[in-house]
């Protein structure tokens, strides 16, 4: 049986196609999300790559911010449940998930059998999210992928506000205009995101193993600083931003079986 998970975030669309709930046939990431052509393109590409058509897919589950607008799905499940399922498959000992997506950050407590025991999300604010890192990378004139390496070379990390993206943006501009080294600003940005998200994680209680998902977990400095902040090892999900789509595809397989 072939199933698919489609994770439609605010900044990207991710698809995982699974065979018998085990073998990944294809995985696609397109860097545009809800409200764009991204979800449909990602889905089309994921099935075309393995010479399948929609009829070959027994069940499709959509998740993420744009889950309710994707017409090709049989069911919608929130990213909270899908991330939990995906991580449990990859790291069975998981107890705490930190998911930093494009527009929100969440901490998810995992109970027996990989089920969600509780969760908490950021408030109506972009601080501590992927969007925050995007905005800051633009000001630093670097690709978001290079932010970790730049931050790692900091000599005198500065403090950046984590209460508001707009205020933080003007703070960064002001620091750069007064000659603060870009790497010191980059380290401040990493610390700002970690400080904000670690607050959420502490609220639900930090229990090992802690796994981070979402595109932001590709930033190795965030992982390192998060470990220091929480005082426990933090594992980056092996499937990073595809973890939610994997979880959706697994849930599709389980509900269709």
């Amino acid at each position: 049986m072939i199933t698919a998970g489609v994770d439609i975030g605010s900044t990207s669309s991710k698809v995982v196609v699974l065979e018998e709930g085990e073998k990944i046939l294809s995985k696609v990431i397109i860097p545009v999300g809800a409200g764009s052509s991204g979800p449909a393109r990602a889905f089309e590409q994921s099935i075309r790559e393995v010479n399948l058509s929609r009829e070959d897919i027994k069940r499709v589950i959509a998740t993420g911010y744009g889950r309710n607008t994707f017409t090709g799905a049989d069911q919608q499940i929130t990213e909270i449940t899908c991330h939990a399922r995906g991580v449990y498959e990859l790291v069975p000992g998981v107890k705490t998930i930190i998911d930093i997506g494009g527009q929100d950050a969440k901490a998810i407590g995992i109970g027996k059998g990989g089920t969600v025991s509780n969760f908490i999300m950021n408030d109506k604010c972009a601080a501590g999210t992927g969007r925050f890192l995007e905005v800051m990378s633009r000001i630093l004139e670097i690709n978001i992928e290079d932010l970790a390496d730049l931050a790692a070379s900091a000599k005198n990390e500065i403090s950046i506000s984590n209460t508001c993206t707009v205020f933080a943006e003007s703070e960064v501009i002001s620091q750069l205009s007064t000659g603060t080294a870009r790497e010191d600003v980059a380290a401040g940005i990493v610390q700002s995101v970690v400080g904000r998200v670690a607050g959420l994680v502490k609220r639900i209680g930090v229990q090992s193993e802690v796994v981070m998902t979402g595109g932001v977990c590709l930033n190795w400095m965030i992982i390192k600083v998060m470990e220091k902040e929480l005082d426990v090892p933090v594992i980056a999900s092996p499937m990073a931003q595809l973890t939610g789509a994997l979880g959706a595809a697994l849930l599709a397989f389980e509900s269709a079986s």
């Binding site: 911010y65 309710n68 919608q76 499940i77 929130t78 990213e79 909270i80 449940t81 929100d104 089920t115 969600v116 025991s117 509780n118 969760f119 908490i120 999300m121 408030d123 109506k124 609220r203």
Partner: protein
């Protein structure tokens, strides 16, 4: 054949009358007061005074999507966006009187800080701006489980001062016999309101939570009045009939029973209702409407002082946790939604610890969301929906796990 009067129709009539009567009284040159929502109304009711409630008015304005212009007006006058949105709406209204539902300006104001202390500064502003008298009933916070004897004496002494000030403002004498009648009626209404709220313990619940918020307005504005008793009698009859027929308030049935903790998110109430209905989630109880159940022995001023002192926000952590724990059990709750209300700092301050206490004592699932009682800008629909659906998924999973466990336990093999 004339249509049968429903409690919903009667509620609408009474609420419309409440506001039109206030205007009519003002036009006739009678005194009109503004009062905080849980002010001991027994005193002004005894004096036969016309009183309107700015918090209720601000909620109605927000529910009709009229809040934003008033909020922006208040902010342009210098009030911080971080202040209570009810206060901002009311302080702006006081200046412009620009709202779809008008209320007359007050000749005196009645303030009791049993729900928050922002009220004092808000009402002092009104009194100073309009140059009118303010009667304050200052209620100490209950650090212990109940008010201390000293606190009761203090509150009673303020009752005496309130009567003295009301006599001075109106030029009339306070009538003790009428006071007793009002207290009896207020208790009857509170008992009926409690009965209506408790009927939602039935599975499925006959009333949805958003209706609870609507009926509540009558308890805010007229809990010492005869007509409120008539409304509640009708409501109880309707609810009992629905229970008898086993009718849920949702056509597709009730899939999940939750408590709404905190004030309603008035500007988005229609959206909130649809999101709940779509998921089959019903708010079967809430700390919000329950606040207007005020029971005491009529004539016993110690009890009157105590009941007005023990309002949600004014009670200690342990008292609040015990109350929630009882409600989880009595209303057979699957979850609790905590409204992290940007306007209500005092409530937010206690919420996380309340969540921890209730989670430790019960197996209820907990979710919180950011919103505001009246400022539409402090709410994100997509975030709310995701949290609500995630809660539903957790509850559905827990129910199915519980069911499988029961099947396994009952399996003779």
């Amino acid at each position: 054949m004339p249509e049968k009067l429903t409690s919903r129709n009667l509620l609408n009539q009474l609420q419309t009358r409440h506001y039109t009567n206030a205007y009519a009284a003002k036009m006739k040159g009678q005194l009109v007061g503004w009062a905080t929502s849980i002010f001991p109304q027994e005193f002004c009711e005894t004096m036969g005074l016309t009183v309107v409630y700015p918090e209720n008015h601000a909620a109605a304005v927000a529910a009709k999507r009229g809040a934003l212009p008033l909020l922006e007006q208040a902010e342009s006058e210098g009030y911080s966006v971080d202040l209570c949105s009810y206060a901002r709406i009311n302080l702006a209204y006081m200046k412009s009187q620009a709202a779809e539902i008008p209320i007359p300006l007050p000749d005196f104001i009645l303030c009791c800080n049993n729900i928050c202390n922002t009220l004092i500064k808000w009402y002092e502003n009104i009194a100073a701006e309009l140059n009118i008298p303010m009667i304050l009933i200052d209620v100490p916070y209950n650090h212990g489980y109940e008010p201390t004897p000293a606190a009761i004496d203090y509150i009673k002494s303020e009752f005496g001062e309130c009567i003295r000030q009301l006599e001075k403002i109106t030029g009339q004498q306070f009538n003790q016999e009428r006071f007793q009648e009002v207290m009896i009626l207020s208790n009857e209404n509170s008992r009926a309101w409690k009965r209506a709220l408790d009927l939602n313990q039935a599975v499925p619940a006959p009333l949805n939570g958003f209706e609870l918020f609507n009926y509540m307005s009558q308890m805010v504005c007229a809990r010492g009045r005869q007509e409120t008793g008539e409304l509640l009698k009708l409501l109880i009859e309707e609810l009992e009939e629905k229970i008898r027929l086993g009718k849920s308030c949702y056509e597709d049935g009730e899939k999940c029973r939750v408590m709404w903790d905190g004030i309603a998110c008035w500007p988005h109430i229609k959206h909130n209702f649809k999101a709940f209905e779509k998921n089959g989630i019903n708010i079967v109880c809430s700390s919000y409407p329950e606040a207007w159940v005020l029971l005491y022995e009529p004539g016993n001023l110690d009890e009157l002082a105590k009941v007005y002192s023990m309002i949600g926000n004014n009670t200690c952590m342990e008292y609040q946790a015990d109350k929630r724990e009882r409600e989880v059990k009595n209303f057979k709750l699957d979850g609790i939604l905590f409204h992290v209300n940007r306007s209500c700092k005092v409530m937010d301050f206690m919420q996380y610890e309340q969540q921890r206490l209730v989670a430790a004592r019960t197996d209820v699932s907990i979710m919180n969301f950011d919103g505001d009682q009246a400022d539409p800008r402090n709410f994100a629909a997509a975030q709310f929906e995701t949290r609500l659906e995630a809660l539903m998924e957790i509850v559905a999973h827990n129910k199915s796990a519980k069911k499988s466990k029961e099947v396994t336990n009952n399996d003779p093999a």
